[in-house]
C-alpha cells in the first residue's frame, strides 16, 4: 500500500538534493571564473586603496564658471554616458535674471534657466537684450553625493549605497532599473541608462580618484571652477582647504536636509 501511494520517494528526494548542491557549486564556480576574467580584461587599478582612509569633497566657484561645457563633455567621454541630450552626470545651467518692472516693489524680475544639451559645446547667445538683464551666471550641477541621500533610501533592492570615502554609488549588479531613485533625487542627478537599464549618476569619477587622478570634470575645467580634494589627506595649502577658508559656502536645497558633499561659493537664491 505504502509504495503504491507514495509519490515522493526517498531516492527522488536524495537525487533532487544532490542536484541542488551540484547546481549551487557550479554557480559559485561560474561566479568565480567571471570575476577572474573581469579582472583580467579591465584596466588594473592600483591595489590597496582603502576607502576608510579618504574623504572626498567637491567645491564649485559659481563666480568663475564661464559655461564652456568642457566639464559636461569630458564627463560623457570619461564615463561613456549616452550622447543623447537628456543623459547627464554633470551639466551647467545658465541663469538669466531679468530686471523687475519699474515700481513693482520687487528686486528681480523673471528668472530664465536653460541648459541646451547640458551646456556641451557652449551656450547659444541669449535672446534677452542686455538692457533687460539684472544679472546672469552659470551654475554647474552634478550629484551632490549627499551624506543623507534620499536616493538610497528610496532604492527597494539596496543597490545604491554610501561609501566610507564620501561617495554615493550604484551597484549595477543589484539595480533593477525601477527608477524610484530617479524620482527621489531632489537635484535631478540620476537617469536610467538606456543600454544597461540601470540607474546611473555621477560617481565623483570613482575609478579616477582611486588612482590618484582628479575627476574628469575637475581635470578639464579651464577656469578652476571645480575644486576637488581629499579632506582626510589634505595639507594646509590644499586647494580645497584654501577654498573652504576663503569663501562663504552654501549647498543646494539645504532645507531638505540631504547634507550634500558638493559645496558652492557665490550661489544665488534663485539657483536650486
Amino acid at each position: 500500500m505504502k509504495s503504491s501511494q507514495q509519490s515522493v520517494s526517498r531516492r527522488g528526494v536524495l537525487s533532487a538534493l544532490g542536484k541542488l548542491v551540484a547546481g549551487a557549486a557550479a554557480l559559485a564556480t561560474a561566479r568565480k571564473v567571471r570575476a577572474v576574467t573581469k579582472q583580467a580584461v579591465t584596466t588594473p587599478a592600483p591595489a590597496g586603496y582603502d576607502p576608510t582612509k579618504h574623504q572626498w569633497r567637491m567645491a564649485l566657484d559659481v563666480n568663475k564658471c564661464i559655461g564652456c561645457g568642457s566639464c559636461a563633455d569630458a564627463c560623457k567621454n570619461e564615463n561613456h554616458v549616452p550622447r543623447d541630450p537628456g543623459y547627464f552626470r554633470t551639466w551647467v545651467e545658465r541663469y538669466i535674471i531679468k530686471k523687475a518692472p519699474h515700481g513693482s516693489g520687487e528686486p528681480c524680475g523673471e528668472t530664465l534657466v536653460d541648459s541646451p544639451n547640458g551646456s556641451i559645446g557652449g551656450f547659444p547667445p541669449t535672446l534677452v537684450p542686455k538692457s533687460e538683464i539684472l544679472k546672469a551666471f552659470h551654475v554647474p550641477k552634478l550629484c551632490n553625493q549627499c551624506s543623507n541621500s534620499p536616493c538610497d533610501m528610496a532604492c527597494p533592492v539596496g543597490a545604491t549605497f554610501r561609501t566610507p570615502d564620501g561617495a554615493v554609488l550604484v551597484d549595477p549588479t543589484y539595480c533593477i532599473g525601477c527608477g524610484f531613485c530617479v524620482q527621489a533625487c531632489p537635484y535631478g542627478c540620476r537617469f536610467i541608462n538606456p543600454l544597461s537599464h540601470t540607474a546611473e549618476k555621477c560617481t565623483f569619477c570613482y575609478h579616477r580618484i582611486t588612482r590618484g587622478l582628479k575627476p574628469a570634470c575637475a581635470e578639464v575645467c579651464p577656469t578652476g571652477t571645480r575644486i576637488f580634494g581629499d579632506l582626510k589627506n589634505a595639507k594646509p595649502d590644499d586647494p580645497l582647504l584654501q577654498f573652504y577658508a576663503k569663501n562663504r559656502l552654501q549647498v543646494l536645497k539645504p532645507h531638505l536636509g540631504t547634507l550634500p558633499r558638493v559645496f558652492y561659493a557665490g550661489l544665488d537664491e534663485e539657483a536650486r
Binding site: T173, E219, V220
Partner: protein, 147 residues
C-alpha cells in the same frame, strides 16, 4: 522521544541548514564589509578604464609646451581641456590625438556673453575681426603672441 518531535526537530534542522547553505552561496562574500551592500562594487568601479590621462601624464613628455606657456594666462588649463581625452595617446604615443577645432575653437570660452564673469576676457565676434580665424593672430598656447 515521541516520533513526531523527532520529525519536527529534523525538519527544523533541515530548514536551518538549507537557509545557511543558500545564504552562503547567494550572499556575496564582501557583503557587509562597509555597510549593507556589496563592498566589491567599489572594486568594480575602481577597475573601470580611464580616458583622460591627467596633466601629470602630459607633462611627462611635453615639458617644452608646459614651459612655453608658463607665462601665458592659459598656463593653468589642462592639456586635455582643448585636446580631448588622451589616455590612449599617453599609453602609446603612436596613437595621434585628434586635431583641435578649425581655428575658431577659442569662441567656446571667449565669446562675449552676459552670464560670463565680467573680468573674464571676452570678445564680441561681430566686432573683433569678423571672418578671420582666431589662430591667425593668436597662438593657442600663448594667446598674447602671434603664431
Amino acid at each position: 522521544m515521541p516520533p513526531q518531535i523527532t520529525r519536527l526537530l529534523l525538519v527544523t534542522v533541515a530548514i536551518v541548514v538549507a537557509y545557511f547553505t543558500a545564504r552562503h552561496f547567494l550572499v556575496p562574500a564582501s557583503f557587509g564589509q562597509y555597510g549593507w551592500y556589496r563592498a566589491d562594487a567599489l572594486k568594480d568601479y575602481q577597475l573601470l578604464p580611464i580616458n583622460y590621462a591627467g596633466q601629470a601624464a602630459c607633462a611627462d613628455c611635453h615639458e617644452e609646451v608646459i614651459k612655453k606657456r608658463a607665462k601665458a594666462k592659459h598656463r593653468s588649463i589642462a592639456c586635455e581641456t582643448c585636446h580631448g581625452p588622451l589616455y590612449a595617446h599617453a599609453n602609446d604615443p603612436t596613437v595621434k590625438p585628434a586635431k583641435v577645432g578649425n581655428g575658431n575653437f577659442c569662441v567656446r570660452c571667449h565669446e562675449a556673453a552676459p552670464a560670463r564673469p565680467e573680468k573674464f576676457p571676452q570678445v564680441v565676434l561681430a566686432d573683433h575681426n569678423p571672418g578671420q580665424k582666431c589662430t591667425e593672430c593668436h597662438a593657442p598656447h600663448l594667446p598674447t603672441e602671434a603664431p
